[in-house]
């Protein structure tokens, strides 16, 4: 596990930061699944943590935001921020949770501009709302669509009639 150790060295400042935060307020837990370090941050600490990561640890490049439906009671949705520190060449995942009744997460688009579209995508797919998002519209599906397709209860083939097909007679409105 020398590889593991090396990685821990790379992430030493992050681990120190996490230790510090852990002592102060809410717990930030840390785990590592395959190679990238993952921080699990409570929702109310999210923006603060992300800002600190960007400003003090140089994670200036946001690669992706992933939404996940865990399909469990309580905190149903996971939002993962995939960050890159361009200076030291390391990757970090920050994870936060949102529950089903109030799927609301603060928006990171003030920190990284490109968070905007990724958050729109998660809103589109899971119905997770992002507060203070500049333009929270669906990104793929039409605004008239009522469901959130990547939630586990949504059937693969969709719900019949949820999106119209065009009529085969020419447009009524165009001719009038």
């Amino acid at each position: 596990m020398s590889n593991q150790k090396l990685h821990n060295d790379v992430y030493s400042d992050i681990l120190a930061f996490v230790e510090y935060e852990r002592g102060v307020t809410h717990p930030i837990s840390v785990y590592r699944s395959t190679s990238d370090l993952t921080l699990v941050v409570p929702r109310d600490l999210l923006i603060e943590t992300l800002t600190k990561l960007k400003e003090e640890h140089h994670f200036i490049y946001l690669v992706d935001i992933v939404g996940t439906d865990r399909f469990v009671e309580g905190d149903r949705f996971e939002i993962l921020y995939n960050l890159i520190d361009l200076k030291q060449g390391r990757r970090l995942v920050v994870k936060t949770l949102a529950n089903e009744d109030t799927p609301i997460v603060p928006s990171a688009s003030a920190i990284w501009t490109n968070a905007s579209w990724h958050e729109r995508e998660i809103f589109d797919m899971y119905g997770v709302h992002f507060t203070e998002h500049p333009d929270l519209r669906r990104v793929y599906l039409p605004e008239d669509f009522e469901y959130y397709p990547l939630r586990k209860e949504f059937p693969l083939l969709g719900i019949p009639g949820s999106i119209d097909l065009p009529t085969s007679t020419p447009d009524q409105e165009a001719s009038s």
Binding site: T34, G89, N114, E121, R138, P142, D164, E173
Partner: protein, 429 residues
């Protein structure tokens, strides 16, 4: 298409969607300057481009607010190709999902196959034989050249020279031939397998690749000599669609866009996969961040790809092409046909597939022609992914496009779209 924008006041379908889309154009800077009193002559025009437009590279839709021919504000509408591959992935085994990756970035399917395989292999801890890794690299670099050739053709065609497109297509046809020999289909190849590749390089394919590596640099030189000093082409591209380094990083640009803006971020160096750490190649970078810079970056990337291909061909080792572990990879066809265990393993692989440990998460990225293509997979211990997220480079680059269009003119728009080079199949998932 032309009708859409005339009906903007009263959209006939997806009413709510169209209204909110048009409204977002007004809301972008959250001011009330859009009121008519500010524009008594009605000189502002909202132009709808797409979803079916010759220059939007598929089905991208742009809403442009114009002042004369200058764009004041731009909004993008995606999703005209949305089919929900991530939903499909949750209902397929890992190997079954492979053909869908071909149809994500359909200009370079091989890179997508490799990206998925690498992610799953990292998740399930599969060791891939060396020869297979080299074959994957050859395929991925050929795919890069082919994708960049299409970009070159369409971008030059967007600037009006139609014949150039056909000339680059002639070169692409050669790569199609190689893929045909190598994998059995012209371009949606699905050649990679979890744990290796489907079949070994045949002698015919090898001969074709060698010939291509010999002849292509000459063609590339021809393209260079036709464009580098072409006043019309250079004048149209220089200082158009400028993205500064800071802006590119802030907007999450990736691939040639980021490198054209001056940051040498390339996954092949950043987090080397396959055997790229043993390869000798440069990361082309430009500082200007305009269309021309992206042009040079991509042209030089094709040179580097040829260099990598040469090294791969020199070093291609002998050996198996697939992991020899029945729980992790398909057995070879010989085994399937002539041994009982082989057959059972084949059934098992097809039926349940490879099962990574429960709760494992992985993010693995490769440098696809368009940029960083990453797969995030969460496993629940079965043969199907619990969650598979594609981090599509085109999606990220389109966001850069939305921000870099303002201030350009309509004739620049098509070139900027061309130089961003989005693939909608990938951006729309």
């Amino acid at each position: 298409m032309m009708e859409l924008e005339q009906k903007s006041a009263s959209p006939t379908f997806f009413k709510k969607h169209q209204e909110s889309f048009y409204k977002s154009l007004e809301d972008k800077h959250t001011t009330l300057e859009f009121e008519d009193s500010d524009d008594p002559l009605n000189s502002r025009m909202v132009l709808n481009m797409g979803p079916s437009h010759p220059a939007t590279h598929g089905v991208l839709r742009l809403l442009l607010q114009l002042n004369g021919e200058t764009i004041e504000k731009a909004k993008l509408d995606l999703g005209y190709l949305h089919r929900g591959v991530e939903k499909i992935a949750e209902n397929k085994t890992y190997q079954e999902f492979m053909p869908y990756t071909d149809r994500m970035d359909y200009l370079s399917p091989y890179s997508n196959n490799v990206a998925l395989c690498l992610a799953v292999e990292k998740l399930a801890d599969v060791e891939v034989p060396e020869r297979a890794q080299y074959i994957r690299m050859i395929g991925a670099e050929l795919a890069r050249i082919s994708a960049h050739l299409l970009w070159l053709g369409t971008m030059v065609m967007d600037s009006g020279a139609i014949s150039f497109f056909i000339w680059t297509f002639r070169e692409r046809e050669k790569i199609y031939d190689i893929m045909d020999q190598l994998a059995g289909h012209r371009f949606t190849v699905s050649h990679a397998r979890i744990g290796g590749v489907a079949n070994d390089i045949t002698d015919d394919a090898m001969a074709l690749i060698k010939e291509f590596v010999q002849t292509f640099p000459k063609e590339l030189k021809g393209f260079h000599s036709m464009l580098d000093r072409n006043r019309i082409f250079v004048d149209r591209n220089v200082d158009v669609g400028v993205v500064s380094t800071e802006k590119a990083i802030d907007l999450g640009a990736t691939g040639p866009i980021l490198r054209g803006s001056g940051y040498a971020y390339d996954i092949r160096r950043f987090e080397p996969y396959l055997k790229y750490d043993e390869m000798d190649f440069e990361i082309p970078t430009r500082l200007e961040g305009d269309n021309l810079a992206r042009y040079y970056v991509r042209m030089e990337e094709m040179h580097e790809s040829i260099r990598i291909l040469r090294q791969c061909l020199d070093r291609l080792p002998k050996g198996p092409i697939r992991a020899n572990d029945a729980k992790q990879a398909y057995p070879s066809k010989d085994e399937v046909y002539y041994s009982m265990e082989g057959m059972i393993h084949d059934f098992m692989m097809t039926d349940t597939g490879i099962c990574p440990p429960e709760g494992a998460e992985v993010y693995h990225a490769v440098e696809a022609p368009k940029g960083e293509l990453g797969y995030f997979i969460q496993s629940d211990g079965t043969g199907h992914p619990w969650r598979l997220k594609v981090n599509a480079p085109s999606f990220r680059n389109l966001q850069v496009l939305e921000h870099s269009l303002e201030g350009a003119s309509i004739s620049d728009t098509v070139l900027i779209i061309g130089s961003i080079d989005p693939v909608m199949g990938e951006a729309d998932k």
